[in-house]
């Protein structure tokens, strides 16, 4: 098991390395483009261009340029944005990351709870009225765009029925170290908004997996052993269906932390990674874009490595293959 984890982490590292190379090549080796002008941003003066070219060794061979770039980005951490002159890239990302992480982790807890509960209840009651009700709720939740739901939530809580929600602070973000209570209060509706979509997806996926599992031979064996239906559902069917949920979760979590929660961040005025990426794209702020891409890739690779380790933990057959 330990060997499996180590191997998986090494391969994750290699994937990260290749991503960084690809990102570097896209930005700096695209033919016909002057990378110095790219980094320096729009309407940069010739002196700035010369400075950038010197700093990143743009007249030197590609591998050295790659090394310098990574040196500035990861170790020196002094890569600066030339659009907003003097603002360093890394602090922007480390400033935005906790906001996004707070949003995603809280929402993930909610949607996992709701999705697993919904899927379990629906599968346990298949054929009864509650099953199609939950499944309809699921499809409705999947169909509602997050930004629309967010706007409606804001309209209701901040405007139309503000007297009812007077306990709710104005949209924004308060760090958890500053005040855990205010942190949760600021994030409760963003969490619910973001979790709605995913809870619907997870409930539907889990129900389908459970219904499949309940038709498996091993469930018949479990019944013939005299186990209770509840134990069969949780210990046998759910346990074997978790693999699907875990892999789905890895993908969703990675991409959301990497910035895919942009719409929710915009609606609730959270200056997270999604917002940062979006703004840097608008300004063509190349160093920031690069930083954000690397950061997003990091979380996706990390999440998929964690998922694979969880796989091996959940399913002994995966372990023995390696």
């Amino acid at each position: 098991m330990l060997l499996f984890i180590v191997r998986r982490l090494i391969s994750a590292f290699l994937v990260m390395f290749s991503i960084s190379v690809v990102v570097f090549l896209i930005f700096f080796a695209t033919p016909g483009v002057n990378p110095a002008a790219r980094i320096a941003g729009r309407s940069a003066s010739p002196e700035v261009l010369a400075h950038v070219a010197a700093e990143f060794g743009l007249n030197r061979p590609l591998p050295i340029r790659y090394g310098l770039m990574m040196w500035h980005l990861l170790f020196q951490q002094d890569l600066t944005s030339y659009v907003n002159i003097g603002v360093k890239v890394i602090p922007q990302i480390t400033g935005a990351a906790p906001i996004t992480l707070s949003l995603i982790v809280g929402a993930a807890v909610l949607w996992l709870l709701a999705g697993v509960a919904g899927g379990l209840v629906a599968a346990a009651n298949r054929g009864k009225w509650i099953d199609p009700l939950i499944m309809f709720g699921g499809i409705a939740a999947v169909s509602i765009p997050a930004y629309w739901l967010g706007e409606v939530v804001n309209l209701v809580t901040q405007n139309k029925f503000h007297s009812l929600f007077s306990w709710l602070p104005a949209p924004g973000y308060v760090s958890i170290t500053q005040s855990p209570w205010q942190w949760a209060l600021h994030l409760i509706f963003p969490w619910i908004t973001l979790a709605t979509l995913y809870a619907g997806v997870y409930a539907r996926v889990l129900r389908a997996e459970l219904v499949n599992a309940l038709n498996e031979d091993y469930v018949r064996t479990a019944r013939a052993k005299g186990l209770s239906e509840r134990r069969i559902l949780v210990k046998h069917a759910l346990r074997c269906s978790l693999v699907a949920i875990v892999s789905l979760f890895g993908l969703d979590f990675g991409s959301l932390v990497g910035g895919a929660a942009l719409l929710t961040e915009v609606v609730f005025g959270l200056n997270g990674i999604g917002m940062l990426t979006y703004n840097s794209l608008l300004n063509l702020d190349l160093p920031v874009i690069m930083g954000c891409v690397m950061y997003g890739a990091f979380f996706i690779v990390l999440a998929s490595a964690v998922v694979d380790v969880l796989y091996a933990f959940l399913d002994p057959r995966v372990r023995s293959v390696h």
């Binding site: 064996t221 005299g226 346990r239």
Partner: protein, 334 residues
């Protein structure tokens, strides 16, 4: 009724019928099955695929989950009527008093738990043993069913065993609570020939040691000859012949049983093709009102349009042929 006069039957089915209402119409999967299994007795149920043997056994344990199924008749286990009892009432019986072995050992075990865990789960469901005691018992059981190095293998996962070894695990699990009755649903069908013989040996030995009764479902007359004390032959959901194994195998009365026995290849006899029974099992939707076998029967007569009665005695059959006709037909054939 039973050949085992010294004991009341462990299991007694009377007129068990299972039907499914489908969009195409009513399917009678089991139609009037009666049999009784004495203590320590091995009762074979034999028939082609789709003849309702497995459905009958699943139904008696309440394992038929189809909402459209309707089950009638009577199932008495140890003198108690158990048909129609709810899941709660059946749970102590399932796995505790009646053990079950399934056809395909490759899928019968939950893939994510060790075999020991799964045996312990069943033991603890039915007894007050602690985890450690149950695990010791699981190791003992695995050793008993012939798994080498049971102490270590108890912590292996199902995929780390071969098919035959997995079937041994399933048998160990079924025997874990010393059930009075073991139902084996084609326990050897998915296994290769040498493994089949080992598994049958194992089951016979366990029967002798634990004195449990066994109902063995099969389509293999060889398994019947090897294991069974009594046999019930089923066709299209109906019992068509039943009696002591020797009587049924040596003096079969029903033309279908003749066909089944004729289909067993014999060593020393060279033949170009394997003997078969002409035709196929008909769709369960259009089983005739009369004798179900009539459409495929070589000796069909006018009487066969009505359903033949179930004859009396120890060796029973449901066929309109008279004993003299049978003797004449069998002589002519051989």
């Amino acid at each position: 009724m039973s050949t085992n006069e010294h004991a009341a039957p462990v299991l007694e089915l009377t007129d068990l019928s299972v039907s499914f209402s489908t969009r195409q119409g009513l399917i009678r999967a089991v139609d009037g099955l009666s049999l009784s299994v004495g203590r320590g007795e091995v009762h074979g149920i034999v028939g082609e695929s789709g003849s309702g043997k497995s459905v009958a056994m699943y139904s008696l344990l309440g394992l038929t989950r189809d909402a459209n199924a309707s089950i009638t008749g009577s199932v008495r286990f140890e003198g108690r009527e158990i048909l129609g009892s709810g899941d709660k009432a059946m749970q102590p019986i399932r796995g505790g008093e009646i053990g079950m072995i399934f056809q395909d050992p490759m899928t019968a075990l939950t893939p994510v738990y060790t075999v020991g865990w799964q045996i312990v789960e069943q033991i603890r469901q039915h007894t007050d043993l602690t985890k450690a005691q149950a695990k010791a018992r699981a190791i003992e059981l695995l050793g008993e069913v012939g798994i080498p190095d049971a102490k270590r293998r108890v912590d292996s996962y199902p995929h780390e065993f071969s098919g035959g070894m997995r079937q041994r695990v399933v048998i160990a699990m079924a025997m874990s609570c010393n059930p009075k009755l073991l139902i084996a649903d084609e326990p050897t069908t998915a296994l290769d020939v040498t493994t089949q013989a080992q598994i049958l040996d194992l089951m016979s030995r366990l029967r002798d040691v634990h004195n449990s009764s066994i109902v063995i479902i099969t389509h293999d007359m060889g398994v019947i000859a090897e294991m069974a004390d009594r046999v019930t032959v089923m066709y299209a959901g109906r019992p068509i012949e039943a009696g002591p194994e020797l009587d049924v195998v040596r003096h079969p009365r029903h033309p279908y049983t003749w066909g089944l026995l004729g289909a067993v290849p014999r060593i020393g006899e060279r033949s170009e093709r394997l003997a078969t029974i002409a035709g196929n099992v008909m769709s369960p939707l259009d089983v005739p009102v009369g004798c179900a076998f009539a459409p495929r029967c070589a000796y069909v007569m006018d009487e066969c349009a009505a359903r033949p009665p179930w004859s009396d005695g120890d060796h029973r059959s449901a066929c309109w042929l008279s004993d003299t006709q049978r003797v004449a037909l069998r002589r002519k054939e051989s």
